[in-house]
């Protein structure tokens, strides 16, 4: 305590500098990306999609403390909703925004339906059952060929467009994703600070004690599942619209695991942490692409080292956007 009292201003100064640097770097990147070659924009898009997925899954894992290993199922629901409603597959060509709404709704329903039977289960059992659901959805998609095209997937999806503006080129998808990530990020950030967010935290910390203070843990967990599923499904819709092709191999168990890793390595429960985690797990292998399998080896070792050095993630839970902004203005 006493050491902190001796130099409070130095600490504030350091925080202000960090906040300034982080925010400037983020803004600079966001503004600079559209002017880079298409490859970099595509990489940025990939990153943004994973950040969006991370934000969604973080609600369940980081806030409510439930290990969900089947998150990719909701991603698939969104992607296939777009693929079916905007392609020659069923010869339907609905507008993008309409599909986003349908997909969000379907994602939410799937989240609740999957949530109801599994939420009674604790920790590891929940993990394996959600994993099972993820696999079930993937296998079913792979096998109902008449609807989903089976392993061949669905190709030639429509270009997305909003109010007559095409969203197909990488830079257009970039803006779409950026707006979505910022919007969803803001929403989730406020949600975390709401009373529901606090209840999720209580469930995460000790769910029996949470029941003891009057929290209906089932409905609170369902709300977490549903919100997270909705976000996952929206991410899927945008993914399908940008890729303009969907196939079951994009929704493998490895994807779910990747998103979990991203959250944990970056800093669980923290939106900034998710961005950091995504940067490491998506950007780093991309940077090292020339190294082929060596990059995966490197990534594996790095994962172990990072987790040992920073078990709670690179960015601590407390270093959220709020702290960043407060730090900048010295409050």
């Amino acid at each position: 305590m006493s050491s902190a009292i001796t130099s409070p201003s130095a600490k504030t100064q350091a925080l202000r500098l960090t906040a300034f640097l982080v925010l400037t770097a983020m803004v600079a990147l966001i503004v600079a990306t559209p002017f880079l070659p298409n490859y970099y924009i595509r990489v940025a898009n990939s990153l943004l999609i994973y950040i969006l997925l991370g934000i969604g899954l973080n609600i369940v894992i980081g806030y409510a403390g439930l290990l969900d290993l089947g998150f990719v199922a909701f991603y698939a629901v969104g992607a296939y909703t777009y693929a079916l409603l905007a392609s020659p597959q069923l010869d339907l060509h609905l507008p993008f925004l309409v599909i986003v709404c349908i997909a969000a709704f379907l994602g939410m329903i799937t989240g609740v339906l999957l949530g109801i039977p599994v939420l009674k289960l604790r920790g590891d059992y929940l993990a394996i059952v959600t994993l099972g659901f993820g696999e079930i959805i993937r296998i079913v998609i792979n096998n109902v060929d008449w609807l989903t095209g089976g392993p061949k997937g669905i190709a030639r999806l429509d270009k997305a467009s909003i109010l007559g503006v095409d969203l197909a080129r990488p830079v257009e998808i970039y803006w779409l994703l950026l707006v979505t990530v910022l919007g969803v990020g803001l929403f989730v950030w406020r949600l975390e600070r709401s009373i529901l967010g606090k209840a999720w935290a209580a469930i995460r910390e000790d769910q029996d004690a949470a029941r003891g203070i009057g929290i209906n843990t089932t409905t609170a967990k369902l709300a977490a599942f549903a919100t997270s599923a909705t976000i996952g499904s929206i991410a899927g819709t945008i993914f399908a619209a940008s890729q303009r092709f969907v196939s079951p191999e994009s929704f493998s168990l490895q994807e779910s695991v990747l998103i979990v890793l991203m959250i944990v390595i970056g800093g669980i429960g923290n939106i900034l942490g998710i961005a950091a985690g995504a940067a490491i797990l998506i950007l780093l292998p991309e940077m090292l692409r020339e190294l082929a399998e060596w990059r995966i080896l490197f990534l594996g070792i790095l994962m172990v080292v990072l987790i040992i050095v920073r078990p709670a993630g690179i960015v601590p839970r407390s270093f959220g956007p709020e702290k960043l902004i407060r730090g900048l203005f010295g409050k």
Binding site: K152, F239, Q243, M287
Partner: protein, 369 residues
């Protein structure tokens, strides 16, 4: 901050000038993950020929640089690689995507940036989407599954068949076509059984098949599943003629399954017999010398793609992407697997098809088309 550094570095790389007399070929396939073996050995086959080409001073003084990229058999990674090739102006041809599923997501990107590609995916749909910048130097599944069905009906006198497929694009596609041809020719399809692409145990599937006692079993899958299936089929005492697609045309198929277990198995592929062409035996020899191991099941295609490239470089008017595309579509070239040329949608004009039977340690040609 890391991100910023990466991006700056990337910009610097892109801006670096390239030699006028050198072209780059982008080649993408799975180099990590479960399918790494296929991607690697395919790429090795190509590299083998390009090294030979460069050692001889290139074609008309133009040397070739290989830009090899890992797509992890993932459509998303595939699109990033595609964009990377597109953005890199020195890349004038792409040899892309081992998997049809990945090709589905990358072909629109190549089309947008007018980068001509030789696609590896064998799904018939790929060429039906009007792409102007792609050709397929390998036979599609339609060609690959016709000959075995005809042979089974006419030469083996088979009346019934069971299909096993791995529910992947290739395995399911080619076995469906086999099934269609088999029933169209008057045969009866008793059952279609699916296996997971990661399965190694087929005993329970085989017990099902044994009860139906078909004349022919067609397995639409890839190695090593083909070898495992053949081995277990024999061990479980299932008596039928096993037919497999091109993945089985490798010494590994015989050695991994065990010589005794694959006698009489039929393998369909577009590659003429090794001893029929000195080019192929030379290829096999060179490959072993260079990489210290037997060629993979798809290495020969990589080698052939190198030969096609040589043909293009000989005939092209210039080294721009458009000019290369014209040359690619117009090329007629003698390769290790015969003379190849493309029709207007980019399919092989004549897709050769050969059917082999395993005898002893060898594949013996029994039919061709």
């Amino acid at each position: 901050m890391k991100l910023a550094a990466t991006l700056c570095l990337g910009v610097a790389l892109i801006a670096s000038p390239s030699l006028a007399e050198e072209i780059s070929i982008g080649i993408a396939g799975p180099l990590s993950g479960p399918q790494a073996y296929f991607g690697k050995t395919w790429h090795n086959g190509f590299q083998l020929y390009i090294d030979k080409l460069n050692a001889a001073g290139g074609v008309n003084g133009v040397t070739v640089k290989v830009n090899q990229q890992d797509d992890k058999a993932d459509p998303r990674e595939g699109t990033l690689v595609a964009q990377k090739f597109c953005d890199d102006e020195s890349v004038v041809i792409g040899l892309v995507n081992f998997n049809s599923g990945v090709a589905q997501s990358t072909l629109p990107i190549y089309e947008d940036c007018t980068l001509p590609t030789m696609s590896f995916g064998s799904n018939p749909d790929l060429t039906k989407q009007g792409y102007k910048f792609m050709v397929r130097p390998v036979a599609n599944d339609l060609a690959g599954a016709l000959l075995p069905a005809e042979y089974a009906l006419q030469k083996l006198g088979a009346k019934t068949a069971v299909i096993v497929n791995d529910k992947q694009v290739f395995g399911q596609g080619i076995s469906e076509i086999f099934g269609k041809n088999f029933t169209a020719g008057g045969g009866k399809l008793l059952d279609t059984l699916a296996i997971a692409p990661t399965d190694v145990d087929f005993t329970s599937v085989l017990a099902q098949i044994k009860a139906k006692s078909p004349d022919v079993i067609y397995v639409g899958a890839v190695m090593p599943q083909l070898a495992l299936f053949a081995k277990q089929m024999h061990e479980q005492g299932v008596k039928a003629t096993l037919m497999v697609p091109d993945g089985g045309y490798t010494p590994d198929f015989i050695s991994q399954a065990g010589e005794a277990n694959v006698q009489g198995t039929m393998v369909a592929i577009q590659v003429p017999p090794m001893d029929a062409s000195p080019a192929i035996s030379e290829f096999a020899k060179l490959y072993k010398e260079k990489f210290g191991e037997e060629a993979g099941p798809y290495s020969i295609y990589g080698y052939v793609q190198g030969q096609i490239l040589e043909g293009i470089l000989k005939s092209t008017k210039g080294l721009s992407r458009e000019e290369m595309n014209e040359a690619l579509h117009a090329v007629k070239v003698d390769t290790a697997v015969g003379t190849l040329e493309f029709d207007d949608i980019g399919e092989l004009k004549v897709a050769p098809s050969f059917l082999y039977k395993v005898e002893g340690k060898d594949f013996k040609l029994v039919s061709s088309k």
